[in-house]
């Protein structure tokens, strides 16, 4: 059970990072394409739900961790922050002609903040501070 949950949790985390990579390409100036961005958005939705559900399931399944452990609470806060930053990035990075330059610049900033948040999430997952 543990290994299956870990695999599904990791698979979901890979989906989250795939979204970050896809958005990074557009933030760095690649020509916007709504279909490729849609892949990124679907991966964030699936990965976000997957990391949350399987991560909490793992914390409940394993006796050495509890869902209210400090590092798990920190990860949940980072997850929520990354999701909100991603939502704001999505609005300004869509390939629409009516997106103003200032709005796009703000979206790019939100994207890089989300990328840093996801990196912090990965660091917390690996080091498990306090565990």
């Amino acid at each position: 059970m543990y290994h299956t949950l870990l695999f599904l949790h990791l698979l979901a985390a890979f989906a989250l990072v795939s979204t970050v990579v896809i958005y990074s390409a557009f933030a760095l100036g690649a020509a916007g394409d709504s279909r490729v961005l849609a892949v990124g958005n679907v991966l964030w939705a699936v990965g976000g739900l997957g990391t949350l559900v399987f991560g909490l399931w793992l914390a409940i399944d394993l006796k050495r961790y509890q869902p209210w452990d400090g590092w798990i609470i920190a990860a949940l806060l980072l997850w929520a922050a990354a999701t909100e930053l991603g939502r704001r990035a999505e609005v300004g990075l869509k390939p629409a002609a009516d997106v103003a330059e200032a709005e796009r610049a703000r979206a790019v900033m939100f994207h890089w903040l989300r990328s840093l948040t996801v990196l912090a999430l990965l660091v917390v997952m690996i080091y498990k501070p306090g565990a």
Partner: protein
């Protein structure tokens, strides 16, 4: 855990693991980006998307493969697993190393596809071949992820 113990862990096997996992995540993410762009280009022949697929391979997949592979070697040597006969280690090293060949071929094919698009020639065969290779790489690395997580004998 005390602050000292936490700092000590920073220099233990956690950092090589972070390097390995981050490299693998960025590599798979760049493969997904490249694959998505090339699949969409397969349907409508969009030159910017073929270029995006090529750049994702060259500037995303190739460097992150090195990060992933270096992290793997580092953590394997720290945990004395370099000569391990465990199948999950074997799956990891074999997909990483044979995957490198596929990555190089896919990058070259998509690079030629971009060049042919620039000169006005059709690129569909080269671009589609690269798409298939990228798809195979994604499947292979998902199997590797399963092996790394479940550690079958």
């Amino acid at each position: 855990m005390s602050v000292l113990a936490f700092i000590t862990r920073l220099s233990s096997w956690d950092f090589p693991l972070l390097v390995h996992v981050l490299g693998a995540m960025l590599m798979v993410g760049a493969l997904v980006l490249s694959g998505s762009a090339l699949v969409v280009a397969w349907r409508d022949g969009s030159a910017p998307l073929v270029r995006l697929g090529y750049r994702a391979l060259l500037l995303g997949v190739v460097p992150s493969w090195f990060v992933m592979r270096a992290g793997a070697e580092w953590i394997a040597s720290k945990e004395h697993l370099t000569n391990s006969k465990a199948s999950w280690i074997g799956i990891g090293f074999s997909t990483a190393d044979s995957g490198a060949l596929f990555i190089i071929i896919a990058t070259i094919l998509s690079g030629f596809a971009v060049r042919r698009l620039r000169t006005g020639e059709g690129s569909s065969g080269l671009g589609r071949a690269a798409t298939v290779l990228v798809g195979l790489l994604i499947v292979a690395y998902l199997v590797t992820l399963w092996a790394m997580a479940t550690k079958p004998l």
